[in-house]
Symmetry: C2
Subunit: 539 residues, 2 copies
């Protein structure tokens, strides 16, 4: 067989050739843009020539600080297209972490959304490697800014070459992209994505048994493009010629609902908190969501109630998936097997609330206290992964050896597996509660609580306990209508029949909101401090 | 990213783990077998240990002479599983070609179906490298045979190790499979398939926009396993956990129709002549074919009438695909784009009678008289291909340089391309008719003739012409009911409004059948001789 490499550039080339008329619909600060893949292709090629003129060379990192829009899509292909590395930076991180990331990655050029300029202006003096700033704005004039040298994206494109070729000397194991984890403790850790990994991952997203991304799709990635490449959907959607809808900066649930109706979105991807927000909006408005064939949910476990609300009330198929920054990210996808169609509705919901089976192309093993766990839905163990889109290390980081040992990536996620091979995330290794020598899954308690009508969000953490080592405490946000009527006693009563006695939390605390990471996950570290503070104030 | 190789063994490992209960239903000479993937996995591992004991080493070729059944499936994984090469031998080739192929490939072991033993017994003396013969039989005793040493497949399996591991030292560019072209002239040419090529090709078969092979499928490959790995479907179906139905030796259209009904087949793949036969059977019987979601047709162009009969009359979606032995084989797949759903029924049929667009992962260029042709549906050129599942050469064959030049595989197929990028095979370079300096497509004339109610098959060939260089002659097989009522004049009249005057054949000859290659393609070389003879007899 021919030794032709798998390259990111080839994904866009296919869209240019075979889906020339298909569209990318992009909301920016100032307006809604509609571009064909022909236009996206020409603009990307212009951008490649411009980056080359700015001095970006093979292997250099090109950073982005941007929302989901077409310019961000263009740099997704332009940076790897010239052999450099697309480094998407999480704009929700602290300035301290952003400084660390940019310096650690040694970004040479930064492409920045207009509303993020102030953030970069403040830290400019601490950026050691950046040689040029590019503002991604619709406006004709450059904004006032202390950044220097500062270029306008559109101005640069005027001078670009619309026929600039994708680099021919790409080795498929060359890095194409890069993303840092949104670490809750310590410095963020960098992950390099190779051309090979991204292309194979795109194949995985197009399979009939996973997301089945197709030409006939209208895809709206709600998951940020600065977070694990929006789960790789911009790459796959471009390759397969899907229409792409990009909700742009600081979108609201209302905009999402409106876009779904207006552009007849068929597939959308995001974290549970986004879908909780959308659900609220759907309940308030009167939207036509009948075009949706799939809502993909990842980043954290979706409570059963959320799945049920989408499927029963709105007839919107809701799919759980699982992945991580280190895994490009798709690892498992939850879809009933053919013979599971005969299960009862409750059994189906139970199965679909799990994270699904491993997608083709990867290997997994689950390591418990005594080696690999049984597939019995009971034994808990850490999920370990291997495969061509699983990171082999953190970028220039000594912490690599903690997570990457024996050729496997140790995810830090604790799972059970049923006999179908379907995994269920029951916790993070660090969030598992160890009580009296037994493990308690904080996630299972959270899901059970969130299935209560009154509960909007729930996070369960461990507090130190002299007798039992650790004990669980539940932190709950109630839906507005229930704040006066539902209390601790009722929720504990609700939990008791569902769990062993020692699993039931010692206390339930009520909050107005639960602190979250920049990508919408519960920030348990901060929550633990708040709870600690709460109890010390009580004493 | 990790440097984990793409290997054929991993495809079956996934089925063993995640689809343990799913079934392979296999018809052999003596009975219908039903095996789970757990059983297939154990038997394959036993076979791997047995092959190793027979002395098969890494890189050695293991030949098969067999129909479509579960034992053939097991060797599909066992041979590459120990690092050796699965060499499927086309049992319909002449003994002379089979001898050539086995010696040229240097097959070390041959696995043979019982009814094919006599063929091998006759040529045994001329086989230079074969050290062991294995008969794939259900019977307890070995059949009488002059082959030596001769083993029974099932007897060998008794001694095998059901936990034998897949080889760990596979490089993904190692050869996993091998198939020789069914050459119409000269010696057959060998093509090596790599582990990488087969895995990537399997990804391509699972995409929502191609065959979308899925766990929920019941797949029946009618295309022989000895022909380009049954188009790769056994690999993909195993990986994705589909139920597989294998129609076994010397099947009839009746058996195919019965199996479709009985096992609720959802997808099936074969050449047009198979589907013409099935259509006849469906017209005679009263079969429930409602489970079928896709009939895949390749190997030769399907006439519009065939597509229409399946879709209109039986509501069976019919998909054209295109490939070759050198291309693993999937190259293009015909599926309407979303915006083509608005076309008229006639326009849709026209589009769907074309071979489709290039599947993700490959590159194509169409070379006409003056470089790359326009995508105007008019200009004809030779289809050239590049990609990780396209052969780079013929195995130890000097003829490689004719087909593999400048890094591209020159298919020998002449196509036009429309503005959607959809290709239409209009001829083989060697079958194109050159008349008065213009090209005439034999295939287009054939398709037009086969759209006539009276015509069962039509093949158009060139005969030498003093004035025009070449002129087309049509060779036609009429449906039985029409043999007395329809003649040359009516068919010519039928063609005239559809083509330029110089395209209309000079003559129409009627045949009882048209000679075909071992894989069901028209054997034009032989037809030309018959036609030559016909005219010389007339003179």
């Amino acid at each position: 067989m021919m030794q032709t490499p798998l390259t990111v550039g080839s994904l866009l080339e296919r869209a240019e050739k075979f889906f020339a008329k298909k569209q990318v619909i992009s909301q920016t600060h100032d307006k809604l843009h509609t571009l064909t893949y022909t236009e996206i292709g020409k603009r990307t090629r212009k951008l490649m020539s411009v980056l080359a003129e700015l001095g970006v060379q093979k292997g250099d990192r090109v950073g982005t600080l941007a929302w989901n829009h077409h310019r961000h899509l263009e740099i997704y292909f332009a940076a790897p297209g010239i052999g450099s590395v697309l480094h998407t930076i999480n704009i929700r991180l602290s300035p301290e972490h952003i400084i660390y990331i940019i310096n650690h990655a040694e970004d040479k050029v930064l492409l920045i959304d207009e509303d993020i300029l102030p953030l970069i202006e403040k830290i400019q003096g601490q950026l050691k490697t950046v040689e040029a700033f590019v503002v991604m704005t619709d406006k004709a004039e450059l904004p006032e800014s202390s950044l220097h040298p500062l270029y306008s994206y559109e101005e640069l494109l005027h001078t670009g070459d619309p026929a600039f070729p994708f680099a021919a000397d790409i080795n498929e194991n060359d890095p194409a992209g890069m993303c840092y984890t949104s670490a809750t403790t310590g410095k963020p850790k960098g992950v390099l994505y190779t051309h090979r990994g991204i292309v194979l991952h795109s194949f995985a997203l197009g399979l009939a048994d996973t997301a089945a991304i197709s030409e006939s799709d209208v895809s709206m990635a709600v998951v940020p493009q600065f977070h694990v490449n929006a789960w790789g959907t911009p790459f796959a959607c471009t390759w397969f010629g899907s229409t792409q809808v990009m909700p742009g900066p600081r979108f609201t649930p209302k905009r999402l609902a409106e876009f779904i109706e207006k552009f007849k979105v068929t597939i959308t991807a995001g974290v549970p908190t986004i879908w909780l927000g959308l659900l609220k909006e759907l309940e308030q408005g009167n939207y036509d969501t009948s075009s949706l064939r799939a809502v993909l949910c990842g980043g954290a476990a979706a409570p059963k109630g959320l799945i049920q609300a989408f499927e029963k009330k709105y007839k919107i198929p809701f799919y759980h998936a699982y992945g991580a920054t280190e895994t490009t990210p798709l690892v498992t996808f939850s879809r009933l097997k053919s013979y599971q169609q005969d299960l009862s509705d409750d059994e189906k919901l139970e199965e679909r609330s799990r994270q699904g089976i491993l997608v083709p192309g990867l290997e997994m093993k689950i390591i418990g206290n005594d080696g690999e766990v049984a597939w019995d839905n009971q034994e808990m163990g850490e999920l370990c992964l291997r495969g061509p889109w699983i990171a082999s290390e953190y970028y220039k980081d000594e912490r690599s050896e903690n997570a990457f040992t024996d050729g496997w990536f140790h995810t830090g996620d604790v799972v059970t597996v049923d006999e179908e091979g379907t995994i269920k995330i029951v916790d993070r290794t660090k969030d598992l509660i160890k009580s009296g020598g037994e493990w308690i899954s904080s996630v299972e308690l959270e899901n059970a609580l969130m299935a209560h009508d009154a509960v909007f969000e729930a996070s369960v953490i461990a507090i130190p306990d002299k007798k039992w080592q650790e004990r669980p405490i539940a932190c709950v946000v109630l839906h507005e209508g229930y704040r006066d009527s539902v209390g601790k006693a009722e929720l504990l009563e609700f939990l008791r029949p569902q769990f062993a006695k020692f699993w039931v939390p010692d206390d339930i605390l009520f909050f107005d909101e639960i602190p979250k990471t920049s990508v919408g996950k519960f920030l348990k570290r901060q929550l633990r401090e708040q709870v600690k503070e709460h109890y010390s104030l009580q004493q």
